[in-house]
């Protein structure tokens, strides 16, 4: 799939999102539920802010010493008989994975949910080589069945679909004959997928956090599919973004606690699975062979820049769940598998500015995201930094805007000009004023008045009133 999804043009994607009333009400409802759950889970702990501080500290320390911890991780994986492949690019990661698939002569791969495998377009790469890839997370399973519909949320990928749509997909693609009750459809998926787990040659998982001290990887799930993927097939491949790592199990505890509470309001999800290497001698189930693919794919470009904190992200989606912009346009409008505030920050960095130049502006800077982030990524500030880069380095803003901002600088730092300008504004707008309001503004006011009325500037500005009052000697 790659990081880009949907239509090329941002405006078209937004229009499509805004027109999808089911999606919007589903998203609003989901946001409400997830937000309430998160706040309740945070409140239970009593000192959530200390937890956030600790989360931030851990992420900061780990990122500053990323080379050390990745080395420790890989050495420990190898000590336990696992194979580690460092992949600078998506292509290199896919090449390695394909090589393993070929060696094992694998025909069928079963997967648990992983954003990084979406990002590198792994499924397509494998399918192009004749290997069947089956998504086992219920949401991803639905999307895959529906002709690879892209995910619209990083935790609840099929959030934009309703149950009737899902029933139709099951019916058309798998001959499902039952009703659209979620329990029934889930049962159906369980039965369909159980055989796939048992017959798959290779299991592929993502990785929530790797643990450097022991060479372990951890998987945070509710459905149990990641456990099946890592218990039944004889070969396991785990793909991780290079930043998804903690020093020791003690930090794993903290980040997993923050993740579960922030993502779904649970104390812990049903399953947290820590896997170290392939199965040990004498173990019966678990993979005989374990491969860990550590992916850069643009992440290192973020290190050492003002955006480094974006790599602290633990993919909980708390920022997405509180974002009022996401709530109206939905995940697909971002044109990236990473939607919402974190998506608007990460996508231009992992992809490019040119293709994502609107994303940093798709925020009212309300800072709900920053407030919700469990590891205290200053998301709205990073969005402003993106805008700054677009202005200063990419020089991608329109000439009229650059001119307006220059004028603003000049006027707002020169009191006499400001004084004149604000007075003139009132005069200039008076022909458009009706009952103290402007509903059809000229020129630069047009985008505003197309949607809302503008109060007409008062005949007397505040400063005029104040000065008159001063002169009148009313001052105490």
């Amino acid at each position: 799939m790659g990081i880009r999804i949907g239509e090329k043009e941002f405006d078209k994607r937004v229009e499509k999102g805004l027109a999808d009333s089911f999606m919007r009400s589903a998203v609003t409802e989901a946001q409400d539920r997830l937000r309430t759950g998160r706040l309740k889970a945070a409140e239970e702990l009593g000192d959530w802010e200390s937890w956030r501080d600790l989360g931030e500290e851990i992420r900061h320390h780990t990122m500053e010493n990323l080379d050390f911890y990745l080395q420790q991780l890989s050495e420990n994986v190898a000590k336990r008989g696992g194979h580690v492949f460092f992949a600078e690019t998506a292509e290199k990661a896919n090449e390695y994975i394909q090589q393993v698939v070929k060696e094992k002569q694998a025909k069928k791969v079963i997967k648990s949910k992983s954003m990084v495998t979406e990002e590198i377009g792994m499924n397509e790469a494998l399918e192009d080589n004749g290997c069947e890839v089956i998504e086992s997370d219920l949401g991803e399973y639905i999307l895959q069945m529906d002709d690879q519909d892209p995910p619209s949320h990083i935790v609840a990928p099929a959030l934009h679909k309703n149950k009737a749509q899902i029933r139709d997909v099951f019916r058309d693609k798998k001959g499902y004959v039952n009703n659209d009750i979620p329990e029934e459809m889930t049962r159906f998926a369980r039965e369909q997928l159980r055989n796939e787990f048992l017959s798959a040659d290779i299991g592929i998982t993502g990785c929530n956090f790797a643990v450097a001290e022991s060479g372990s990887i951890s998987l945070v799930t509710n459905e149990g599919n990641a456990r099946l993927v890592s218990a039944l097939p004889k070969t396991q491949i785990t793909v991780m973004g290079m930043e998804r790592i903690v020093p020791t199990w003690e930090e794993l505890d903290v980040l997993v606690s923050l993740l579960c509470r922030s993502a779904v309001g649970q104390k812990l999800t049903s399953y947290i699975t820590g896997l170290t290497g392939p199965k040990e001698d004498g173990d019966v189930d678990g993979p005989d062979e374990f491969h860990l693919v550590i992916v850069d794919n643009g992440r290192s470009n973020i290190l050492g820049t003002e955006f480094q904190e974006a790599l602290h992200c633990i993919r909980c989606a708390a920022c997405i769940n509180v974002c009022p912009v996401y709530s109206h346009i939905g995940g697909h409008a971002y044109g990236s598998i990473y939607p919402g505030p974190i998506g608007a920050v990460l996508t231009p960095l992992l992809d490019e500015y040119e293709n994502n130049k609107e994303l940093p502006y798709a925020s009212s800077l309300c800072a709900a995201c920053t407030e919700a982030c469990p590891v205290k990524i200053p998301l709205h500030e990073l969005l402003i930094k993106h805008r700054q880069k677009i202005v200063e380095e990419a020089k991608k803003t329109e000439a009229s805007e650059r001119f307006a901002m220059k004028a603003f600088e000049w006027v707002a730092s020169t009191p006499s000009l400001y004084n004149m300008g604000s007075k003139a504004a009132s005069l200039a707008m008076s022909p458009f004023t009706k009952e103290g309001n402007i509903s059809k503004g000229p020129g630069p006011l047009k985008p505003w008045t197309e949607i809302r009325d503008l109060p007409a500037p008062g005949k007397e500005r505040f400063r005029d009133w104040y000065n008159k009052r001063e002169k009148g000697g009313r001052r105490k």
């Binding site: 805007e401 603003f408 949607i451 809302r452």
Partner: protein, 241 residues
């Protein structure tokens, strides 16, 4: 107590009555209010759009403007937060950064100043109406002023205050966002209008001219009879039934 008013550009031009009420309210509570006349705008339109070089000059001008003030009080959480941002914005020049920090430290949003500095919750206002209060994002999240407005409003005689559902959601103003992403902004404003209607309130009270301009403009466009007021207007009201 000597207080310098930073009235903000929106209030100066579009809502002069809010400025007047702010002055009267502060004076009524015993403050000596002055208005440094060279003040302009906090610079947010440029800063939030990424034009940081352009906002530096504005910031320096504002720092100079309020250099002699003991307290700077402004009827806008958003502009107060911007004044506090100057310290980071001017970080390249230590002398300016020092001055910017000093400005940030003495800057207060109006309700924060009343409650935390003047220790006044009951300002003796009376206003008989059914109202709801819109929390502004920058005031609560950037400035951390969460309770002061409600504390003040709860003491207003006759005011029947209902809490606004989804009060934590942005109204869709966001400065240039309101015109750059107009379609999305419109939907956010509509959601806000819907929630205001759910409260059955006759008056929407806010503490930031930007939000009020956006919500008020949308309410008016949709023909909704809800009146929009700045909190300074409510707190300076002595209306008896």
């Amino acid at each position: 107590m000597k207080v310098s008013l930073f009235v903000t550009c929106l209030t100066d031009i579009f809502y002069p009555e809010v400025g007047k009420d702010t002055v009267e309210l502060l004076e009524r509570l015993g403050c000596e209010v002055d208005f440094p006349e060279s003040q302009t705008c906090c610079g947010q339109p440029a800063f939030n759009s990424g034009y940081h070089k352009e906002s530096i000059k504005v910031a320096k001008h504002m720092v100079k403007t309020f250099e002699g003030s003991d307290y700077v009080v402004t009827p806008s959480g958003s502009c107060a937060a911007m004044l506090k941002e100057y310290e980071k914005l001017l970080a390249d020049d230590q002398a300016w950064q020092e001055k910017a920090r000093a400005l940030g430290e003495k800057t207060y949003e109006l309700t924060e100043f009343l409650v935390d500095v003047l220790n006044e919750e009951d300002v003796g206002a009376a206003f008989h109406a059914k109202a709801t209060y819109h929390t502004s994002c920058h005031m609560t999240r950037l400035l951390g002023v969460k309770d002061a407005p409600v504390k003040l409003l709860s003491k207003v005689e006759g005011l029947d205050l209902t809490s606004l559902p989804h009060g934590y959601d942005c109204c869709g103003f966001g400065g240039t966002f309101s015109v750059k992403m107009a379609l999305i902004s419109e939907q956010m404003a509509d959601a806000k209008v819907k929630h205001i209607e759910e409260t059955d309130a006759d008056v929407l009270i806010g503490a930031d001219a930007g939000c009020l301009m956006n919500i008020g403009g949308r309410l008016r466009r949709k023909g909704k009879p809800v009146k929009v007021m700045h909190i300074a207007q409510v707190l300076n009201r002595k209306e008896k039934r």
